[in-house]
């Protein structure tokens, strides 16, 4: 099973909303919706690992850090994300990171 943490993205949330609508109209069952989500987990993990090839650097101040169940959660302030040419400044950002070494495990 792949990490389910990507369900809390725009793509994942929109999928869940769509599935909820179909469940409400009784077009699909909740079990089938769960299967769709599991398939989504696999697809997005694969896509991010294979189809994305860019590198980003960032720097900021660490407000809080938390490590629980092998999941890191950071809250950074005044962060600058820098790619090759672009720069984005964010006043507050939360980072939720699962263990990348054991990426085959579920969240």
């Amino acid at each position: 099973m792949a990490y389910q943490l990507y369900r809390n993205t725009t793509l994942g949330n929109s999928l869940q909303e769509s599935l909820d609508e179909l469940i409400q109209t009784q077009q699909i069952t909740p079990q089938l919706a769960l299967q769709v989500l599991l398939q989504f987990d696999k697809a997005i993990n694969t896509a991010l690992a294979n189809r994305v090839r860019n590198r980003v650097n960032f720097r900021g101040s660490l407000n809080t850090y938390r490590f629980c169940d092998n999941v890191w959660t950071f809250v950074l302030n005044d962060v600058e994300f820098r790619e090759v040419t672009d720069l984005v400044k964010v006043d507050k950002v939360k980072i939720v990171a699962c263990d990348g070494k054991n990426s085959n495990a579920a969240e």
């Binding site: 993205t9 699909i28 896509a47 790619e83 964010v90």
Partner: protein
């Protein structure tokens, strides 16, 4: 990552396609038609298009002038003042076609027609390439500024609130999302307004309407002594209602002394109530109140006759009354628990004093309520008098030692601290810390910032805590 144009949108669309295709067989095994899966795809894609995550994609692909429309031959402009303008992009391949081609036809406005255009349901359109499209739902198309859907926010809200099956809207390509159904918006704000606001909790006004009610409320807890004061207090109200209320500066002693006699009567009645505890439990409060009221009435009449005599005894010793009666001062006297030299009373009612403490406080408050605030200050003093010295000592202690309240950590900020819309969801390769210097090695992340999405394969960062 930061260049959120085509790559992110293409990635998302490819993920959508992968998921849909991988689920097709499973849907068939479940006995579901392809239509259901197509509906899911339409819903998903429409939601993604509505979100800002695909904003740049829309910005780069939508060309307001790139519409070519060929109306059907039987289309009459007089009957239907519109042309169907379905925005299309040659690069956009996510909308399903009946011929399953990846290329959408382009539509353009015929000469002489301008935005907004309305398309009623049932109109069949034919593209330049000869493909036929039937409009199943009324569509209104407006010309949006470049890259900006005019009603994207409304559309998002509509998407959230609509319960209508999505397939109906799927028949119309994305531009319909900009103005999904013009008939609906008027109702939607209404529904938005109809969303029940948080009900305002009105504090029960009963506590101000009549005296007995608030006094009955606190003793609702199942403690034996507490109901009794309320029971005994009840008669006080009707008694005072029947009697003329003594003025703040009473003229004659008989009028002023009546409260004192009433206080004594209440003590007696309380004692009687205590003796009848067992009976009280089994009887209704209303019945009990009625009985007590009747008894008190009788006692009041007797007390009036004996008021002067009693007054003399009480003023000197037990209650500490002054001849110069003030109704507010009388409330000061109702301190049955204090060291006021109530030796006689204590001997007579050793058990009831503890209850009378509460009684005394309630009586003072009752007096205050009846007088409409004349005895308010004194009432407060009474309520605090029983605690009196102890509270003063505590206050002094607090003033001297503020207990370093400034060092307290406010817990309220913690939930808000993690509540942010800017979230990065990723995996970590390595997290390193040296004193307060942290280094992050992240990978395969999706960042949502300001509603827009970014992706990265690797991210390296530093932060100081």
């Amino acid at each position: 990552m930061l260049t959120n144009t085509g790559p992110v949108a293409k990635l998302y669309l490819s993920i959508i396609d992968d998921v849909i295709e991988s689920m097709r067989e499973l849907f068939l095994d479940e006995g579901l038609e392809d239509r259901v899966l197509d509906d899911l795809k339409h819903l998903w894609e429409s939601k993604m298009m509505q979100s800002k995550a695909m904003e740049d994609f829309r910005k780069n692909n939508i060309n307001s002038a790139n519409f070519v429309l060929q109306l059907p031959a039987n289309y009459s402009r007089t009957n239907q003042a519109l042309t169907v303008v379905i925005p299309a992009s040659q690069n956009f391949h996510s909308f399903p076609m009946k011929n399953n081609s990846e290329m959408l036809p382009t539509f353009s406005l015929p000469a002489g027609l301008s935005y907004p255009v309305q398309i009623p349901a049932g109109v069949t359109l034919q593209t330049a390439s000869g493909q036929l499209y039937k409009v199943n739902v009324p569509v209104v198309v407006t010309q949006a500024p470049a890259g900006q859907p005019p009603l994207s926010r409304l559309v998002q809200k509509i998407g959230e609130r609509r319960d209508a099956p999505a397939p109906q809207s799927a028949a119309a390509p994305p531009n319909t999302l900009y103005r999904p159904q013009e008939a609906e918006p008027p109702s939607l704000p209404a529904t938005a307004d109809k969303q029940p606001p948080h009900p305002k909790t009105n504090f029960p006004p009963a506590q101000q309407s009549s005296l007995p009610q608030p006094l009955l409320v606190p003793p609702a807890e199942p403690s034996q002594p507490q109901p009794q004061p309320s029971v005994s207090l009840e008669p006080k109200v009707p008694l005072e209602e029947n009697e003329p209320r003594p003025p703040p500066e009473p003229v004659n002693l008989s009028m002023a002394a009546s409260p004192c006699s009433q206080l004594l009567d209440f003590q007696i009645s309380t004692e009687e109530a205590l003796t009848q505890t067992g009976q009280l439990k089994t009887r209704d409060i209303d019945d009990i109140l009625k009985e007590v009221i009747e008894e008190e009435k009788k006692k009041a009449e007797m007390a009036r006759n004996l008021a002067p005599a009693k007054t003399d005894n009480q003023s000197e010793g037990v209650l500490g009354l002054d001849l110069d009666f003030n109704y507010s001062e009388l409330s000061d006297i109702v301190q049955l628990d204090g060291p006021a030299g109530n030796s006689d009373m204590e001997e007579e009612e050793p058990v009831s004093l503890e209850d009378n403490d509460f009684l005394g406080i309630i009586n003072a408050e009752a007096i205050k309520a009846l007088e409409g605030g004349d005895g308010s200050s004194d009432g407060n003093s009474i309520s605090s008098s029983s605690d009196g010295d102890g509270a003063d000592e505590l206050d002094n202690v607090e003033e001297e030692d503020p207990l370093n309240s400034g060092d307290d950590v406010i817990e309220q900020d913690i939930p808000d601290l993690f509540d942010t819309d800017n979230v990065i969801v990723c995996q970590y390769d390595k997290i390193h810390r040296s004193k307060n210097r942290w280094k992050f090695h992240l990978k395969d992340g999706v960042m949502c910032y300001g509603g827009r999405d970014y992706v990265f394969s690797k991210a390296v960062g530093e932060a100081e805590w």
